[in-house]
Symmetry: C2
Subunit: 533 residues, 2 copies
């Protein structure tokens, strides 16, 4: 079998936590953060070590022809065992990671992918597709024991930009490319995908497509779906490529069935993506609100205009305090415009009118004493740093997690209130300490919005993942009661299955099951996501 | 059984041709139009009469419980036999309409629909959903003989607006509502769907959704898909409703499988639709081009800006002459903006810059000597009148049809050239006369455009539909060679099946077949559209 794939950078990815191993907060920082959260430990949990895991021999061996693509190296296997949700990190810290795959494969071509799927189907080996490994919903972790062995199918060796059509602003890109590498290769052409999820550094195009990732834009085309022009999909029943089309009305969209299929129907190996000219004009502003309901009314007015701000983020008082945007109990609305076509000052001025009419106060400093663009930059740095801080708090035994949803405007106020009060009460009951439950709106639409919640609570020593599971069950029931989706852009994976099954219309469930059985007759593709294995 | 449903207006729909029976051109107008097309008849064909058709007794009888919903009235059956494509009109004029359904049902509730589907499944009766009957692709016409009988499922009695959410700008609407009735019922709320296909008067919400109709907007959200918030679908395997959500990342979009399913997977009985405030601000302009390639470059620049004109229609010289927009061989680009938020003069001015930079000449008269808004109004009247004129020409034995497609920008110039030359040559060969092949771009995207072709040719006496079939085969091969979709917004139906089957990726074909078999186990739902019966 092959050696573990050589890393493409001198930095090392953390096998158990977010991002780069060298970017984790040190012990002193962990202690300082922990002191802010009642009910945490006095000292940080030690960094978990792969050497401490019991990793048995692989339960399957690939044939000689596939051996060069496959490794059973323990470090490779351990680092492909789970995604990066809080419960993944907590389990790793407690020495209880999820099922460690038997093998990790690095295909280099569609042919490799097809051959691996064929072998897996014959042998009853589960195939778990793996892009950047940043799933926060159990999307890359095998559960159960219905398969003889588990193969993690890591697409990182398929990371080329194969073709760029500058006149049509599109590029043919392999699925395993990470966000920064993609933007690096588009930049010389003056083009950009402008898809910047929080996981940007550590997630791949294929992962974004398979999970219908939310990206850069707060309004309009918020989701990767709209930027996919054509997909190539390899399934156990054969491969196919949709035509490059700007739009088509020929039957149900073939791509839309595979967008969001989370590896259950096939492997997306490459895609033609719609790109944009890099924006030359930018402007942003912040508006503060004493009353959250006023802020909701204001942001709805902006969402229902045709101004289409690129950024339209509403932070509640807790979230504004946490990110430094305000410290006086105000909610803060941050509006940002960008354009490659024309200056955006007029659009910004028009967009700010609505919040002012709804009781807002213009904050020329962007909420933190610095000019608005600096505030946006600071927020962005904090945003990208957040998962590392989460892991530092996890080492202090805290429970730190986020979840997001979307609902129509009529349901938003009570939904947010109920999540705050019911998850807060559940946390107090589970841990004996008060918890922080903050909310921001990350994406807004004419007909509704996407609230994003952050929960920070003390834990129960050794039982942090179970505490989160208890809080999550409460949160899921609130969401279900308000008919708010179980996920706006984090995907379903395995963690959200209970709510997804309740939410999904039955005719679609029947169709999806039938499609799965037709494309994956041996049931080896990412078993357990979206559908039962 | 029931009497034929009472008409809801004093005007009578034409059973054989477009629209209202009283709006057809009279014989003198037909002769005048025919004189403009070489190779047509000297006198118009007589108006076809239902009484001249041989309509046998129905081959199936519904049970007593369903009888009140069903009629076997010959006029009702004849008027549900076909859609309104040129080949439908030509066949009616020649006394050879398509298969006349045995029964026409007018369900009043989801329960009625489910009961009818259950009976049809038990009896092997084909169910052809029927909204406004405006299909131009054989979408409402049964072909073949694999079923014991044919039931046309006319949804026009399910035409209520059930609920309006003004704060969230959405409405729950039954599928059988026609365009004007929908807008009438939304107007008191200050809201509009702004979906104005050419068939607006004679097509229904359910038909728009089932065929992924193209609507009002030339850029951005051009298609009904983006305005569907939630669908209710009744299938032989059960009914289901997707949640009202502004956006969701929970698995593949359930609605997107039924959008464009053309009645093959289930009956869309109602939908929550996203609405808009009625626009208060409008402005438009026209730019003329001596060279068509300059116009293409200009319209691409507009499409790649973020200005999002509501109207962005490029007429080639022939189309401009036909519609009166220019008479000097110029191509004409018509740009229109509208907004409920703010005046649009600045956006219009910015949008006109690109065409001027690409060799265009601003035409303050909008191309016809009248102010631009009047030109737009005149174009709209001509646009709505066009299908009636087509039927007048059809009575003169002419071949008059349109088809539309979409392709990426790199393919657009050669695609348009090849359609013009190859369809033109085929028409000359088939009829012995030169033909008119015009093109306009109806919708434009950053990565491509949707060309819409009009063909006007002399016929072969008594054989007009066969001539069109010959020309269509040539056109389809040009489209396929250029990887241009077989339809941008007219749907696949039965007429486009050959090209659709060649275009559809194989994994999606397998999934669609499996979904069809799961939801429609007896194979009675609109047999032959999208998939073989």
């Amino acid at each position: 079998m092959a050696e573990a794939a050589a890393p493409r950078t001198h930095r090392t990815r953390s096998w158990w936590g977010w991002g780069w191993a060298d970017a984790h907060p040190d012990d002193a920082e962990c202690v300082a953060m922990g002191a802010l959260v009642p009910g945490t430990l006095a000292r940080p949990l030690p960094l978990p070590r792969i050497a401490d895991l019991r990793i048995g021999p692989p339960a399957a061996t690939p044939p000689a022809a596939l051996a060069p693509l496959v490794t059973d190296d323990p470090a490779a296997r351990a680092s492909h065992a789970m995604g990066k949700a809080f419960r993944d990190v907590a389990r790793a810290l407690r020495g209880r990671p999820g099922r460690i795959p038997d093998l990790v494969a690095h295909p280099r071509s569609d042919r490799d992918v097809a051959d691996l799927l064929e072998w897996a189907g014959e042998q009853g080996v589960a195939v778990v597709p793996y892009g950047g490994g940043s799933s926060v919903v159990g999307g890359v972790e095998y559960r159960g024991d219905a398969h003889r062995a588990v193969l993690s199918l890591d697409l990182s060796a398929m990371d080329a930009v194969l073709e760029v059509d500058t006149a049509g602003r599109s590029a043919l890109v392999q699925a395993g490319i990470l966000g920064p590498a993609l933007e690096d290769r588009l930049r010389p052409h003056g083009l950009t995908l402008r898809h910047f999820p929080q996981s940007f550094e550590f997630s791949t195009l294929g992962g974004w497509l398979a999970t219908r990732a939310g990206g850069h834009y707060a309004t309009g085309r918020t989701r990767i779906d709209d930027f996919a022009q054509s997909l190539r999909v390899v399934t156990p029943a054969g491969a196919g490529t949709s035509w490059r089309l700007p739009s088509s009305g020929a039957g149900p969209s073939p791509d839309r069935l595979f967008l969001g299929s989370e590896g259950a129907l096939g492997i997306i190996t490459q895609a033609w993506m719609r790109l944009q000219e890099r924006p030359h004009h930018k402007a942003s502003a912040a508006v503060a609100f004493a009353r959250f309901q006023d802020a909701l009314d204001a942001v709805r007015a902006v969402a229902q205009s045709d101004l289409l701000p690129a950024n339209c983020r509403l932070l509640d008082a807790g979230e504004a305090a946490l990110s430094g945007a305000s410290h006086d109990g105000s909610a803060v609305l941050v509006l940002g415009f960008e354009s490659a076509t024309a200056p955006v000052g007029d659009r910004l001025a028009l967009a700010v009118d609505a919040p002012l009419a709804h009781g807002g106060t213009a904050d020329p400093t962007g909420g933190d004493g610095a000019p608005p663009d600096a505030a946006v930059g600071a927020w962005r740095s904090a945003f990208l740093r957040m998962p590392y801080l989460r892991d530092g708090l996890a080492r202090m035994g805290a429970v730190v997690e986020t979840f997001e949803t979307a609902a129509t405007w009529d349901r938003i106020p009570a939904l947010i209130d109920d999540v705050r009060s019911e998850v807060g009460a559940a946390a107090r009951k589970a841990t004996g300490h008060p918890a922080l439950v903050n909310c921001r709106l990350t994406h807004v639409y004419p007909d509704g919005a996407a609230p994003y919640f952050t929960v920070i609570a003390g834990g129960r020593d050794g039982d942090e993942d179970a505490v989160w599971d208890e809080l999550k069950a409460v949160a899921e029931d609130v969401l279900h009661r308000h008919r708010a989706t179980i996920t706006h852009h984090h995907a379903v994976g395995r963690d959200h299955r209970r709510s997804y099954d309740r939410q999904r219309p039955e005719p679609f469930a029947l169709a999806l099951r039938a499609a799965k059985d037709a494309l994956d007759p041996h049931g080896v593709l990412n078993p357990g996501v979206l559908l039962d294995a």
